[in-house]
Symmetry: C2
Subunit: 459 residues, 2 copies
């Protein structure tokens, strides 16, 4: 007999993951190693200690440990807001008239408003355990900064957040939330770092970029005693922590006797996508199942679909190690009319490698189509999605509409990473029809690619 599938399924507290899953341990070929830009040699743990706290540096480089125990203290924190629900989108399905079964994993049910808290609490915990004096980070739309502020406040750890200046100005309430959690917020570029001062000299009116804010946060960390830098996406350690999303999703689907034909996630730096797909990608790597896995990215910042697979800096100021990834070039800044988030020039090296090796697909979507999906979803499912998350909604709707054409009752799982309460300016511009789309020209991209670093013997 077919199980009755509830609208929302919550795992019990006992069913919460007690280990993170490290996708690298099951990859046939590993991503190329991070390189030290000074000598183009693979970065060592010791070299990373200057930037990251020790345990996180080890997690970053560990390609073999399949499962990492989640420390008790982090499990305790997770229990405050996890499990996140796995939701059957009955109302959206009905509105679309699709035979597809659509599920989504909803990560917006905490003050930070997104999945970012899953890694933030881990990174703050390890920093506190090491006895650090504080942390620095950057934030764009503000989800990561909010999550980290919340985690640092919980562990009584000082935090300095470099917030992309245009967001700092456009999202005063985001800033207020971080300040509620005692974080110090600095608009980037700023005159608190060498790299910031240099960028301001060259372009005094710049609204900043995520890449530039990263440079400032890294410089601040390495130049302040007892401080380290933390990052909310891209890194291997972040994907490791975010695997709780996928692990919970898989357990919940198993309880419903379901397995996804398609897994869909939005893709900026890859933190949610990598976490959501982790156990399904494991099945694929081990030949146990063959779900389609689709990354959805903005057409205005199309790193997977139009980027180069090459070594590049993770930041604009070129102070970070080099990572092999799909990149638009570390100088690439999306058009100012882009309101939809996911504006990072690169992509997680793990996801880049999997995409390069054919384990994953990618599509790029325009932002008016993304907000169209967001509004339809909000009206049907009582959740106002973040613009980032709405990329995955767009992808899921498009696949569900294909099912409508073919009559196939496919099972679709997508990640709903967060809520859009701080993105109403973008919603406004969509509702008032002043939102426009922008697709970078081939010439623009070639120009950005031409600045990729030259590495003797490699590229």
């Amino acid at each position: 007999m077919k199980k009755k599938i509830p609208h929302r399924l919550y795992l019990s507290e006992d069913q919460l993951p007690k280990q993170w899953y490290n996708l690298r341990a099951d990859m046939k070929e590993l991503p190329d190693p991070m390189l030290n830009p000074a000598n183009f040699q693979p970065a060592t743990a010791e070299e990373l200690y200057a930037v990251f706290c020790n345990e996180l540096a080890h997690q970053e480089l560990d390609n073999t440990t399949r499962y990492f125990d989640i420390p008790e203290e982090i499990q305790e924190f997770y229990k405050m807001y996890r499990p996140s629900p796995l939701i059957r989108a009955y109302h959206l399905e009905k509105a679309l008239g699709t035979p597809a079964k659509i599920y989504y994993k909803y990560e917006g049910n905490n003050t930070s408003g997104s999945h970012k808290l899953n890694s933030a609490v881990a990174q703050a915990y390890y920093a506190k355990k090491q006895g650090l004096s504080g942390l620095t980070t950057e934030t764009g739309a503000g989800q990561w900064g909010t999550a980290l502020a919340e985690a640092c406040s919980y562990f009584n750890l000082p935090l300095i957040v470099y917030m992309v200046k245009v967001s700092y100005e456009q999202k005063p309430f985001r800033k207020s939330v971080m300040q509620t959690f005692d974080a110090q917020i600095i608009p980037s570029p700023s005159n608190t770092t060498n790299v910031g001062r240099k960028i301001l000299e060259q372009n005094p009116n710049t609204g900043g970029s995520l890449g530039c804010a990263i440079s400032e946060a890294v410089e601040k960390a390495v130049s302040t005693p007892g401080y380290r830098y933390v990052l909310g996406s891209v890194l291997n350690q972040v994907l490791l922590h975010q695997s709780v999303i996928g692990l919970e999703s898989k357990t919940a689907l198993e309880m419903l006797d379901e397995y996804p034909d398609i897994v869909i996630g939005c893709a900026g730096g890859g933190s949610n996508l990598g976490g959501l797909i982790a156990p399904f990608m494991q099945d694929k790597l081990l030949g146990k199942a063959s779900p389609r896995i689709i990354a959805v990215e903005p057409a205005s910042c199309p790193s997977l679909t139009r980027g180069k697979y090459a070594y590049d800096f993770c930041d604009t100021g070129k102070v970070t190690p080099l990572a092999k990834m799909y990149t638009l070039g570390c100088g690439f800044i999306p058009s100012p009319n882009h309101a939809g988030g996911l504006r990072y020039h690169g992509m997680s090296p793990v996801l880049s490698k999997l995409y390069h090796d054919g384990y994953m697909e990618a599509v790029a979507v325009e932002q008016t189509k993304v907000f169209e999906a967001a509004v339809l979803f909000a009206k049907q499912e009582t959740i106002l999605p973040a613009p980032e998350s709405a990329h995955a909604i767009r992808g899921a709707i498009d696949e569900a509409l294909k099912c409508k054409e073919t009559g196939e009752a496919k099972t679709i799982l997508f990640g709903l990473t967060g809520t859009g309460y701080f993105d109403m300016t973008a919603y406004n511009s969509y509702l008032e029809q002043t939102m426009t789309d922008f697709i970078p020209s081939d010439e623009d991209l070639q120009k950005a690619f031409s600045q990729l670093p030259k590495i003797p013997g490699i590229q």
Copy 2:
């Protein structure tokens, strides 16, 4: 053996209430009836039909039916965002160092950001079923307007929202959310109604009030063919719908072998408080248990603790029926420095009667103390509370601290009605220490009381 109590308990979909509970059916003495202001006679269903849709008028007047079946379509909608979790505040308890066990029922997990959706979907459903052309309502802080916009959008029912002008101007993003759900938003007072024009003539620069917005919404409804008016609090029908909060809470506590010694809710018009306490008050009325029940209201709008128990209008413009309730007078407007919500001059007649008869306690708290509690709670429990909800947090913390003094391990349940994402201006003023407290003087209140309606033979 003592059960292990998880941080979050979710009922299964099967355990969701299938009936609402009508507290009036178990009251020893009923609240005095609503009066028609034209003849001071009890309002009849037929008289209410002009304002409310028929089914809701019946619910309003039905003092005997103990349980109302929740229509299938409303149950379907509830399943999208319910059950709401019952959360054990382990981290808050630890931070307070209290032996008390603190539970809270969290209603903020939907786009409207609050419990208001529980009644909004019911009211929109009955209006649609009756074939109405549209609805009007008012909103202050915006939670009710958002909830109703969401519900009306789901049922494809046009909605006009009169939004208190000061909120309209201070909360542009609240407005945007309602517009996302296709609602028409009019700042109140406006020149779209007689009562609005009259108020504007007398006081062109007024920021409006909830009482005034109610007057406009009622006038608009009765003067527009096929429209009816709906209200998010105060009314008996609203308390009926909100009983899902208490019913779910009680079932969840029973699963944990727990029963509250104290039940605490914030009190504005009484929608959340009345819903949360319903089944516990039933136990008290039937002599089965004797929990303390505490309403927490703002010191700047203290209807229960300093108001008069008298017949009064529900609105400033004096177009509604008269209700017997604790009231500060329908002309009372809280000090403009009041940022904490719960600014209604009156209180649910059902709750007023229960308070008058000694079944419920009430305390008034100052807003700086409320925000202090809100920030402490946010840091410990990963939820940024709405200022309204934070009144209940304040009440719960105060009771937990008393337990710390006495060493008693009392079980406290409070209602966390919603999130504060649209209240960051208020949080800012608290963080920047520009927030002040205000307590109306006895003279102010006497002046407001002097305008209570004179009713021959009654008051």
